[in-house]
Amino acid sequence: MIALFYIAAIIAVIATVAVILQTNIVHGLLYLILSLLAVAVIFYVLGAPFAAVLEAIVYAGAIMVLFLFVIMMLNLGQHTRDQERKWLTPRGWIAPSIMSAILLGQLVNVMRQIDYDIVPAQVGVMEVSALLFGPYVLAVELASILLLAGLVAAYHLAKTK
């Protein structure tokens, strides 16, 4: 199981780096999907199968499909690829790299203090649902109201006069 975790983690990191470096937007999107699926595998290995499969359905399966749908509509070609290449200059890397390095250092420092030898407990569908509709029911309702607002806004924008 721990080997699965490391394989999925390495794939996730490589795929995420590839998302940033890729100048072809469709390929970048494919790497992003791969990265999300790798994260789903990590969830599964850590004992959260429900979260894993929701990650695959909602993020990799639904949201990314809409991204691809928009890309198909935009009719991007060689000129966007050239533009991407122009934007990815070495000078543009400096500031984000320094900031990310500081964050990474902090993260490693924090992780060193954690006793990482934890045997993950299985969190099934029942446990997640009991929490969602028990102590967190208010948050769930608020999130659904937010989605409803988005739905109404989309309806208003798409409505033909």
């Binding site: 390929h27 494919l30 639904a62 809409l66 198909m72």
Partner: protein
Amino acid sequence: MSLEIGSPLTIGLILLVVIGTAAMLITVERRLLGFWQERLGPNRVGWFGSLQVVADMIKIFTKEDWIPPFADKFSFVIAPGIIMSAVLLSFAVIPFAPDIGVIDSNIGVLFVLAMASLGAYSVMLGGLSSDNKYALLGSLRAAAQMVSYEVFMGISLLGVVALTGSFNMREIVEAQTDGWYIIPQFIGFVIFLIAGVAESHRLPFDIPEAEQEICAGYHTEYSGMKFGMFFVAEYIGLVLISSLITVLFFGGWLGPSFLPPIIWFFVKASAFIGFFILMRAAVPRPRYDQLMSYGWLFLLPLSLVNLLVTGVIILSTQ
């Protein structure tokens, strides 16, 4: 090696049977369509045309596999592989009989839905990378259709899941010992059936590849075995939807004991495969906007009401 859940022999046999059935369906479908439309269909090769599938296979394997120079090669090549792996992986959670299956998973139903939504990429990438107007139109239609019908497909299954209290397909089958879910969940069954056809984009919902309007839709530029993979994956999808209906609404392997469980499964699944082929012969294709408004304005409210009523009944009988 023995026949038990997850042994290499079982997995190999399941793969062989699923792909074999899908390949045979190419001939069976043409023969059945011929029968229903009062013509003969392919009956020259072998006994009643049974070797037609071999001839088709030889043809498709020896054809030139051409990648258009203007296509995006990376996406073009992986697109048929995605749909093939997505539909085949879905069979991992299908319980064929008490001791035959690949895995016994607590998230079985969700896993199938996840694989169905990943399958949508294949059609979209195939059309997008072909750099062809017809292919792009086809994959735009496919994307809208598959994303929409996934929603009702998921919601229509929740009634079954709520009645069982589990996403595990084996538990769903065992919970139907006293009566199949087709009776309490008839509306869910009808919605799942329609969404299933739309999801595997077969006639009458083959709008993404409607050949009279947009050539062959998303696989216009595909040839040889890459086209063959799209083609076979469609039949595997048909077998998958039939197996899912059998498991979720018709008691899976359950049946009177004069036949072994696996035979009951095959009998029920074959009946649904036949029904889908009959639908292809009998129902005309709707228009694209009709398909969309039918889904969002009729099937979505209906599936929500079905779920609500099921929930009320479960809570009031407890």
